[in-house]
């Protein structure tokens, strides 16, 4: 299922402001790629341009190319809705739909895209909840409101909701920053399992987390406020955290700035 993503000279803008400048990178299928870097360096912006969520923000646009297995996501004949269906996203704060039950939340992606087959939906919901490691905790209360779950459970619910529509790629925008260490650990273990099936890109502020979960790490930096964010270096995670080739990466990782 998983597909590769290639960025070629990708720049991301808010109106005239260039937030991310000229990024080239290859993201391998069935791997975890972590984006790290100081606040404001454009990691999240770049992530959101990978499933065309960025253009929903005020005057968001891009230059360059994002290729999913060779197909340009921004080609004029590509429907952004189909891009988002293929490339799922998990957000910083858990955001289950408050008017829906646990079951309906996971089923929402299928139902809102027109699936009617009850049996199939039930099947997918169970599989997705098992996939996100939440099934055992919620199987007795699928019809209860999602808002009754803890923050960590809500986030895993959101992951279940995202994988229920069977995307090729899963983008995660600081998925653990609102969670306690135990929930964080649960999500990290989940990421390990999900990478058997999905291509995962994760933005994180937590460098230990990047080191723990990712195969490849990309370090971004900005020269100063108002300047665009740049990709400084991208390499196997073990190399980035031991022998990075750029001084800025080493400084950041060893905590000398940022």
């Amino acid at each position: 299922m998983a597909k590769r993503i290639d960025l070629s000279s990708l720049s991301v803008f808010y109106g005239k402001f260039r937030a991310v400048d000229d990024v080239n990178m290859n993201i391998e299928p069935r791997s975890v790629t972590a984006f790290i870097g100081p606040s404001g360096c454009g990691k999240s912006t770049l992530l959101r341009s990978l499933n065309r969520m960025h253009e929903l923000a005020g005057r968001g646009r891009i230059e360059g190319k994002v290729l999913l297995d060779g197909t340009d996501l921004y080609a004029s004949n590509v429907d952004p809705v189909s891009v988002r269906r293929t490339i799922g996203m998990v957000f910083q704060r858990p955001n289950p739909f408050p008017t829906m039950s646990i079951f309906d939340n996971v089923a929402s992606g299928l139902r809102l895209n027109g699936m009617r087959d009850r049996k199939k939906i039930t099947e997918v919901v169970e599989k997705s909840l098992q996939g996100s490691g939440l099934w055992k905790e919620v199987q007795d209360r699928l019809n209860k409101p999602a808002s009754g779950l803890s923050g960590g459970q809500q986030q895993r619910l959101c992951i279940a909701r995202a994988i229920a529509v069977q995307p090729q790629v899963l983008l995660m925008d600081e998925p653990c920053s609102a969670l306690d260490p135990i929930s964080t650990l649960a999500i990290e273990e989940l990421i390990h399992e999900l990478k058997q099936q999905f291509t995962i890109v994760i933005v994180t502020h937590n460098m230990q987390q990047a080191a723990r979960v990712s195969d490849t790490t990309a370090f971004f930096n900005i020269a100063g406020t108002g300047k665009p964010g740049k990709l400084i270096e991208m390499d196997a995670t073990s190399r980035i955290f031991s022998t990075p080739s750029e001084k800025a990466t080493e400084d950041y990782i060893s905590g000398r700035f940022g």
Partner: protein
């Protein structure tokens, strides 16, 4: 503690003397004064409200709880006689308001959705400005506008439907305004969550945003109805008043509760007429109350799935 965690010594600027002291006398007095003032204002604001309600209930109840009130009209009942009912007025008011709501509610919801979810640039500003202007229009001006349009220009007769149209003008801004506020309260996270699942924008709005805001939207619709059902100016100008039952919105004079109050109030010194004035007023309040409760029940049953 000799270790310095901070680059400058914060204890240097600490005030002399004990740190934990009782609140000063001046502040306690000001606090008590403010509390008393807030409480007193509440009571003062409540007095007229309770007064009006008791007055209406006490004076209106004898007529309203008479069996013929809900079934009979005032046809042939003179101002000196007891009896008859308000059915002609209730049916007229309910019909006019219902037709008004059927036209105004969908329109207002669409306008509000446009303003919050799609509106950008000059068109949205123009629409928002128009709604603002509509908010301030006196009901008699709306009535005159419909009179000029429907009756003077197109040559129709005065009729209940003309009242409905005038009420539409008055209802739209109320419903648009509240719906707009309610839609804005829906967290953007939810829109993003839905869009990121590959759900098209229109379906995100219909299935996620509107249901989340529904209780507030329904409150807005109820406010709109409560606002227009008691309007009197459009009735006087566009349909007049009839003491007999006329359920045809498109022809003839039509009874209405505000119309009944105006009509009976001309003889308010006479006991039977006075009772009917208060009775009609109480009926108006009861109708708004019942509609409100019904709407709340509907809202609860449609959004209960996630809130059990």
């Amino acid at each position: 503690m000799s270790t310095t965690f901070l680059s400058h010594d914060i204890t240097a600027s600490a005030p002399a003397g004990p740190l934990l002291i009782p609140a000063s006398r001046g502040r306690r007095i000001r606090n008590q004064l403010a509390t008393a003032f807030v409480g007193a204002s509440f009571v003062v604001a409540l007095i007229p409200l309770v007064w009006i309600l008791t007055e209406v209930v006490v004076k209106g109840a004898p007529d309203v709880f008479h069996s013929s009130w809900w079934t009979h009209s005032q046809n042939g009942v003179t101002e000196r006689r007891e009896g008859g009912g308000a059915f002609h007025a209730i049916s007229g008011s309910v019909l006019q308001t219902l037709v008004c709501a059927v036209i105004a509610v969908p329109l207002s919801l669409l306008v509000a959705i446009f303003l919050v979810e799609y509106g950008k640039g000059r068109l949205a500003n123009a629409v928002a400005f128009t709604v603002d202007v509509l908010t301030g229009i006196p009901s008699i001006v709306a009535a005159l506008f419909i009179y000029a349009l429907l009756i003077t220009t197109f040559g129709f007769q005065r009729q209940g439907f003309a009242v409905s149209l005038a009420l539409v003008l008055l209802m739209i801004p109320v419903v648009v305004r509240t719906t707009e506020e309610m839609l804005k309260l829906v967290p953007n996270d939810l829109r993003e969550a839905s869009l990121a699942l590959g759900v098209p924008k229109y379906r995100t709005i219909l299935r996620i945003v509107v249901p989340t805001a529904l209780p507030g939207i329904i409150t807005g619709i109820m406010l709109g109805i409560a606002r227009v059902i008691g309007e009197t100016a459009p009735l006087l100008i566009l349909v007049g008043y009839s003491k007999s039952i006329n359920n045809n919105l498109f022809s003839g004079f039509q009874g209405s509760l505000p119309g009944m109050i105006v009509n009976e109030a001309t003889n308010i010194t006479l006991k039977p007429a006075e009772g009917r004035v208060w009775g009609a007023a109480l009926t108006l309040i009861l109708i708004v109350l019942v509609l409100n409760l019904a709407a709340r029940l509907i809202a609860r049953s449609t959004t209960s799935r996630g809130k059990k």
